[in-house]
């Protein structure tokens, strides 16, 4: 076969790529329209959501809808298996995607199955982190929220130099420098920090030592709540200090990897620091953020048994 004919045949076998339609980028964010004077704000928090190979994301979305949240915090691994644009549009979109205009997300490791998590940044129109960095902050009512990129290169299923996209998670990195400055600028404000990989977890996915610096900075700056995903289960921790031991000065930590993907096992009992843990229920965490306090309740999908609720105060 002549070279030109071969090239034509080769290109003909590969269809021209279809351009998928992204949802529109909102001109103004519904989250930013929440008045800073608002004394009560309702948040739905969840990670590890839409599994294109079958999952409970539609049931979780119904639960979130019932909460009537002012904002949705999504802690990564939002569209399985690969965080591709098709995964977001076809699986995340019909479920938690209905809350896209009030969602702020942090990237998970499955987002990085797609080069540079490009589909994640495109789907959220850059409102969940500047491409390709992934860290940012915003206010919701009187509370401050920081979102971080915890893909520090430790996962086996990502290209080994993902961290080079944004400089990693160690002291001296741009993200950590930004985090310190941002938390310093918002001292005195009730604060939530969210990222994907939990520093402490007794789940089969294990604890993530590579986010140790992130956790230490967060703990040292008096952050009130840490929200994580990655572990496909629910774990509620007490206030933890920078070294992971109970300390009222540190944040209360929640792992809420119950957004729809299959649940995982607890096989690291030696590192269980939780007050409560459960791997039998899908659902989302409802946070009611008040002026200087908050209330939490885990809302399980219909038929799943977990119930957990409580109240606490800001530092």
């Amino acid at each position: 076969m002549r070279p030109l004919a071969f090239a034509v045949a080769l290109s003909a076998t590969t269809c021209a790529p279809e351009t998928r339609a992204l949802p529109p980028c909102d001109a103004s964010s519904a989250i930013e329209s929440i008045a800073k004077s608002a004394t009560v704000v309702t948040i739905a928090a969840v990670g590890d959501v839409a599994d294109c190979d079958g999952g409970k994301q539609m049931a979780v979305a119904s639960i979130v809808e019932r909460m009537k949240p002012d904002a949705v915090l999504a802690m990564g691994d939002l569209a399985y298996p690969d965080g591709a644009i098709d995964d977001f549009l076809d699986c995340y979109g019909p479920s938690l995607g209905r809350f896209r205009s009030i969602t702020r997300a942090a990237p998970g490791n499955h987002e990085y199955h797609t080069p540079h998590a490009g589909a994640y940044y495109a789907y959220f129109c850059g409102s969940s982190g500047e491409p390709f960095k992934g860290w940012y902050s915003f206010d919701v009512g009187r509370w401050h929220v920081v979102a971080l990129n915890s893909n520090c290169g430790q996962d086996l299923d990502v290209v080994s130099d993902v961290a080079s996209d944004f400089g990693g998670c160690t002291d001296g990195s741009p993200q950590i420098a930004w985090l310190r400055a941002d938390l310093d600028a918002h001292r005195g404000q009730c604060t939530i920090a969210m990222w994907h990989h939990p520093r402490w977890s007794s789940s089969s996915e294990g604890s993530s030592h590579e986010v140790d610096t992130i956790f230490r900075v967060v703990a040292d700056h008096g952050v009130d709540i840490v929200l994580n995903g990655h572990a496909h289960d629910y774990q509620r921790f007490p206030h933890l200090g920078a070294d992971g031991t109970p300390s009222q000065a540190g944040p209360r930590v929640f792992v809420v990897g119950t957004g729809g993907s299959s649940l995982s096992s607890f096989d690291d009992d030696a590192h269980d620091r939780s007050e409560l843990r459960d791997n039998g229920s899908h659902g989302a965490l409802r946070l009611e953020l008040r002026e200087r306090s908050y209330a939490w309740s885990f809302a399980a999908v219909d038929g799943d048994p977990l119930r957990d609720e409580g109240e606490d105060s800001c530092h």
Partner: protein, 181 residues
């Protein structure tokens, strides 16, 4: 002597006789499809390239091969934002196998070692990242050809493990056609 041993002995004798009569060098072209697991944008897909090999009297076959893959392009956009991610690749391998012959049929199970070069870019709005990356690769292969005179036609299958991209194995199946001298 067992039936299996008899078949193997006959095949190897046939291969030796064929090799002596028809030469041991072979050259071919491959075309087919490669698949990359656990990735949202594959740098394999449709591809093709040349291969050449030499079969020793011991039936050991050494080969060198190169393959260019068209890869994949993903696009999505709305009125204000465009996303495009496009990657292609080339891989070159050296392989060793053992040629088993049964009449005109040649089976060569083996292993290949080489490198995968991925080239491409991802664009989200005004922000673009260009990538050029090398990955070492190692894995098994299976070549099956039918000999018609000095011409050979068949199927070449390969599967690779990329040590620096642990959970993303790749595999490919290619039609092959060539000539043995």
């Amino acid at each position: 002597m067992s039936l299996i041993a008899s078949v193997l002995l006959l095949a190897s004798e046939t291969a030796v006789q064929s090799a002596a009569a028809e030469g041991r060098w072979d050259a071919s072209l491959r075309a087919g499809y490669g698949y990359m697991f656990t990735t949202g944008v594959s740098s394999l897909g449709t591809g093709g390239g040349p291969s050449m090999g030499y079969v020793f009297r011991s039936h050991v076959r050494l080969e060198l091969a190169a393959l260019w893959s068209y890869g994949e392009t993903v696009r999505a956009s709305n009125a204000t934002l465009a996303y495009r991610s496009s990657y292609s690749s080339m891989h070159a391998t050296a392989g060793v196998g053992y040629e088993l012959a049964i009449g005109p049929f040649r089976f060569t199970p083996g292993a290949r070692l080489g490198g995968l070069y991925v080239d491409g870019s991802t664009v989200v709005g005004p922000t673009k990242v260009h990538d050029e990356k090398w990955f070492p690769m190692i894995g098994p292969s299976l070549l099956f050809v039918v000999r018609i005179g000095r011409a050979e036609f068949g199927v070449d299958g390969e599967s690779f493990f990329l040590p620096t991209w642990v959970a993303s194995p790749v595999c490919g199946v290619y039609a092959t056609g060539g000539y043995r001298v």
